[in-house]
């Protein structure tokens, strides 16, 4: 079976735009969480978010793309450019059907959508942009990335909230195993606009604290919810042999094992399914728990969910037997963008 490896990274994170900025901030413990600047959050019960700093879309994208894209799509396009550059892949040199795009999305281009809803309801149907038909929907990033790089192979879009990024990477591996040579994959999300904010608040899990240092404290006794963010990562996933053949400058990692499970309805009394997912992913990778050197946690920041996650990790690895980390405490939770950021 073809082995899927990661050969390029493109990052747009609240604590750093670009892989180097993100990674050095993460190692230094520098957080990108702060008071929202994309709109005035005063009066809302949560005011903190992770926003990508120093992003100038016009510096990266042409005048044709700007009016038809939401903020999060612009971030995704820039991350996809960066990932290909990092992998030193020139798409024009590969066969068009040998390259695909699989991304995850949670809420699409919600900020764009709010603007168009406002035009419709305050001005009438004639005010609605022609771009609304695709700028907001969940498939927009995959579509725009495939157009930008001429990738005509098997592609896809999954929506699975915070798990979406992992689903996308797993689906990319599936495509590579079935002979797609290269897949741009990952997720970039963000709905930091008043309408997106109100919808996120309705989920009931946002931290109401206004101190960036203590607002999002997963696994801490003071945990009181999370801080959301925007951004994520796009990865170049490649067939290992193809990567070697073209002399890829680096192979960061192999996508070695994956599994997904679903928690039963609370009323059934059946326990949560995370432990089984971890065990199945290990089995898929052909590894034992002792082979795992670090766990990047989901880190909900909600005490009951944190305990449940800690229980699942302890049940598989033994109590305190593996380091568990959550660098998303420095970016906020990025929905489908979160998991692909874990390096």
């Amino acid at each position: 079976m073809n082995r899927a490896v990661i050969t390029g990274l493109g990052v747009a994170a609240p604590n750093g735009l670009g892989v180097d900025a993100y990674w050095s901030a993460t190692l230094a413990g520098v957080s990108g969480i702060g008071r929202i600047t994309r709109f005035d959050p005063s009066g809302y019960p949560a005011v903190l978010a992770g926003e990508v700093p120093g992003f100038d879309p016009a510096a990266h994208l042409g005048p044709r793309l700007l009016p038809q894209t939401d903020h999060m799509t612009r971030l995704a396009l820039v991350a996809s450019d960066a990932a290909l550059a990092d992998a030193a892949v020139v798409p024009q040199r590969l066969h068009e059907y040998a390259m695909g795009v699989v991304t995850a999305s949670s809420s699409g281009g919600f900020e764009f959508g709010q603007r168009e809803l406002e035009k419709l309801w305050s001005g009438g149907p004639q005010q609605v942009s022609a771009y609304q038909s695709y700028a907001w929907f969940y498939a927009v990033n995959t579509g725009q990335i495939s157009i930008r790089h001429g990738m005509r192979g098997p592609s896809g879009v999954v929506v699975a909230d915070q798990a979406g990024g992992l689903e996308a990477v797993a689906h990319a591996r599936r495509r590579i195993r079935r002979n797609t040579r290269l897949v741009l994959t990952g997720g970039v999300d963000g709905s930091i606009c008043p309408w997106g904010w109100v919808a996120q608040l309705a989920g009931g899990r946002l931290s109401g604290r206004d101190d960036p240092g203590t607002a999002y404290l997963p696994f801490d006794a003071r945990a009181c919810g999370h801080v959301p963010g925007e951004g994520g990562a796009i990865l170049v996933a490649e067939d290992l042999d193809c990567a070697r053949e073209r002399g890829a400058r680096q192979v960061y990692a192999e996508i070695a094992g994956y599994a997904s499970t679903f928690d039963p309805a609370p009323a059934t009394g059946r326990g949560p399914a995370l432990r089984r997912a971890v065990q199945l992913a290990l089995a898929d990778a052909g590894l034992r728990p002792a082979d795992i050197d670090v766990v990047f946690a989901d880190a909900a920041g909600v005490p009951a969910l944190d305990r449940s996650e800690a229980d699942a990790i302890s049940a598989v690895f033994g109590p305190g037997a593996v380091p568990v980390t959550a660098p998303k405490t420095m970016t906020g939770r990025l929905y489908s963008g979160g998991a692909p950021l874990c390096p």
Binding site: F39, D40, Y44, P45, Q68, E96, Y97, S105, S106, G113, Q114, E116, L117, E118, L120, W121, S122, P125, V128, S129, A130, Q132, S133, Y134, F137, Y138, A139, T142, G143, Q144, S146, I147, M151, R152, G153, P154, S155, G156, V157, V158, V159, A160, A163, R174, S191, P194, V198, A199, Q200, L201, A202, G204, A259, S260, T261, F262, T268, R270, A273, Y335
Partner: protein, 422 residues
């Protein structure tokens, strides 16, 4: 040996009648379910036509809390999933939860509920800083439509891989293709898979108005969806859902399940051309068709029916006619092609799964649904489109295609389940 996947249960909600039986009756009668939009006053809009479902969630057995919590599209999916399980002869305790997967497609998720709630929190579009105090607690489930898969998984008791696939108007085909992959690779033995969309709301109608994609044939709504006809002028927006029970073939055989059809091959490609535009040559769709045939280990000449995307836009119908010729060669001229969108409109992501259901029923009942409203074919659309009247014909292998915004082109091959094991 390769694991094969068969369809053993079908649940459908489509305009013109709820449930799979009513759906098939409508398709074979050649009647249309398009009408003047009744969900809101359509008079300010360019296109005032849609194919609406007369769906009463209460009568369909949903509880008051489920009705409050779920977007209409999620309601469709749950009702369809229950019908599909029952059709497959599977009781609630006959599924092994860890080995059961749920994959639901949707192009636009909970857009109708989102718009309804937006109007409240923005006080009719007046407030840019919308009010959290007027937001319903279920708004988060509308924001992130993986809630659709959650609802279906809860309803059927699945604990295997569960996700939503959202590739625009190919979501339905792609969700079934995704679930087929999960069973083939061994991640699940059973999958409850399909797609749902309930997009008939002002913002959706307005955005298709803006690009003139939908039909303005407002004075004749019953005949507004006219795929392949010279007078076609856009698609008729629709809504609905279909959810299938997919099973590993050997497991289905052991329990004595009835198999409608095998999902023999699936492939998707992107045109990497334009978010909404299509090149007339049908090149990428043809490539998807060839790849799906390869996976099915079939030849183009084995195909004896094509369920077309057939949306009824000027560009689509020429695009896919070219794709059929490019992929099947002269055999395209001998192969009946039809578009059920002529009768039930275009329900965006949902329609692909509804069309797969129609293909399975066509194989089962040996009848091809017609293309309604096709009186004067476009000279550039010169295949056999089964005009107006259903046709009795036995089929062994059928092709179902979809094309969507974002450039997605998908193709699925379904085969009569008793064909020789490849």
């Amino acid at each position: 040996m390769r694991r094969r996947v068969v369809i053993t249960g079908i649940g459908t909600i489509a305009p013109g009648g709820l449930g799979t039986k009513a759906f098939w009756e409508l398709l074979t009668s050649g009647r249309t379910a398009t009408r003047r939009i009744s969900f809101f006053d359509p008079s300010p809009f360019r296109s005032q036509v849609a194919a609406e479902c007369d769906f009463d969630p209460d009568r369909e057995g949903l509880t008051p809390q489920e009705i409050r919590r779920m977007d209409r599209a999620a309601q469709f999916a749950v009702v369809c999933a229950r019908e599909a399980l029952s059709d497959a002869g599977l009781g609630p305790h006959e599924l092994r939860p860890p080995r059961t997967s749920v994959v639901i497609g949707s192009a636009v998720g909970a857009t109708t509920s989102l718009e309804r709630e937006y109007v409240v929190v923005s006080d009719g579009g007046r407030l840019e800083r919308v009010s959290h105090e007027y937001a319903v607690p279920h708004l988060y489930g509308y924001l992130v439509p993986s809630s659709f898969a959650t609802e279906v998984a809860w309803a059927v008791g699945a604990e295997g891989p569960t996700t939503v696939v959202s590739t625009g108007c190919t979501s339905g085909l792609d969700a079934i293709g995704y679930a087929t992959d999960l069973i083939r690779e061994g991640s699940a033995d059973t999958a409850v898979a399909g797609a749902t969309d309930a997009p008939i709301s002002p913002i959706t109608v307005a955005c298709f108005d803006a690009i003139r994609a939908t039909t303005p044939r407002n004075d004749d709504p019953e005949h507004a969806s006219r795929p392949f006809d010279r007078s076609r002028n856009g698609f008729a927006l629709g809504e609905g859902a279909a959810v299938l029970v997919l099973e590993e073939a050997e497991r289905a055989r052991r329990r004595g399940a009835h198999a409608y059809a095998e999902i023999a091959g699936f492939a998707s490609r992107c045109n990497a051309f334009h978010m909404t535009g299509l090149k007339p040559d049908g090149r990428e769709m043809a490539e998807a068709i060839r790849a799906a045939l390869d996976e099915a280990r079939l030849d183009g000449t084995d195909i004896d029916y094509i369920n077309a995307h057939g949306s009824g836009t000027k560009q689509n119908d020429r695009h896919e006619t070219a794709a059929f010729k490019r992929s099947l060669g002269p055999h395209a001229y001998r192969t009946p092609v039809s578009s059920i969108k002529s009768m039930i409109g275009h329900s965006l992501g949902a329609i692909g799964s509804i069309e797969v259901a129609a293909c399975a029923l066509a194989i089962e009942h040996r009848v091809l649904p017609p293309t309604a409203n096709l009186h004067n074919p476009d000279p550039e659309c010169d295949l056999d489109y089964v005009p107006l009247v259903a046709r009795e014909q036995r089929t062994s292998a059928v092709l179902c295609v979809g094309s969507g915004f974002g450039g997605f082109q998908s193709a699925m091959v379904l085969a009569r389940p008793d064909r020789r094991a490849a």
